[in-house]
Symmetry: C2
Subunit: 213 residues, 2 copies
Amino acid sequence: MSERRGLLIILSSPSGAGKSTLARKLRDWDASLQFSISATTRKPRVGETDAKDYYFVSEDDFRKYVNEGEMLEHARVFNNYYGSPKGPVQKAIDNGRDVLFDVDWQGAQQISNSSLKQHVLSIFILPPSIRELRRRLETRGQDDQDTIALRMEKSWDEISHWDGYDYVLVNDDLVDTEARLKAIITAERLRLSQQPKLVDHVRALQAEFEETK
Amino acid sequence: MSERRGLLIILSSPSGAGKSTLARKLRDWDASLQFSISATTRKPRVGETDAKDYYFVSEDDFRKYVNEGEMLEHARVFNNYYGSPKGPVQKAIDNGRDVLFDVDWQGAQQISNSSLKQHVLSIFILPPSIRELRRRLETRGQDDQDTIALRMEKSWDEISHWDGYDYVLVNDDLVDTEARLKAIITAERLRLSQQPKLVDHVRALQAEFEETK
């Protein structure tokens, strides 16, 4: 067993609140952080690699994983299923590596109620204003007004579930928010439940105490 | 109501593990941190000031406070009672100030089960070794060998309750431990339960969203 147990770090936010940028900054800070790879029943697109972009699985296999409790969360999007397989996450945290999840509030809720809930750390990033959120969506320049209106509806749905998370940050300054995220992760790694090896240290203290008294 | 709610920060450790030094460092870091002042039924000594060193109270009053749930924790030591009154702590946290408690594991347990438990952050400091703990007690030079043996017994009793805390740190390097403590406090201030004003921010976002859609 590793010195410390890894965390399941859930980062949720409406799109445009800075989540992807922050996730990259965390990865730059600690290269051992890994992103959770989703399983999906949709077909791979050109250039996508199995076990890197997604785990591509059949619908039968996907259902079997869900029934066996091997999915930490899952959802159906149009005609395809998406989910977070437990196996690789369990392996990572046993090896002391944290796993980052980019999921919406429904995924966050499912992971927070999963069999690994003891090791979950969930963080919600709020935008400073709706105007700022819309501005960021518009400056991406990818979408027409109808699509942006739809995205804004989706963003509001996401924001309205802000209070189901352990920590909530308002991203009004990227540098501040990054520092806060790092403090949260640094702290959570020091929780009793994340340090399975501490019991050995205390046993050594006890032995030493018995010897010398 | 203050922007954020204060925390009840419990710092426990055997004596000699560096707790007092660390408490001072935290106070230097954030002058708004206040130390909890105990109530006691013992008589004031020369130079002690009421409401600064202790709240000096009668035994009748002390019992009344306990019965009315106005003590977050209390204990009898020889013929005197000691305890942490809730009133000043409640006032501090409502004003967004954190309160630091220097209590043993029994006090920590009582505070962690008190009516303010939602805002409690408990940290245990372990020594790197028993040898180091003994060395620190001996270099204080205040005590004879029998007293040191007694203190070591008391220290072991304290260490044996290490696993009842939220966070556990091994103080093998004072600079590291100080940085970790600061990260824990910085993080815990960002918990949903510590940010009562965030609901106003989300209401403002909602109003803005409704207006602009």
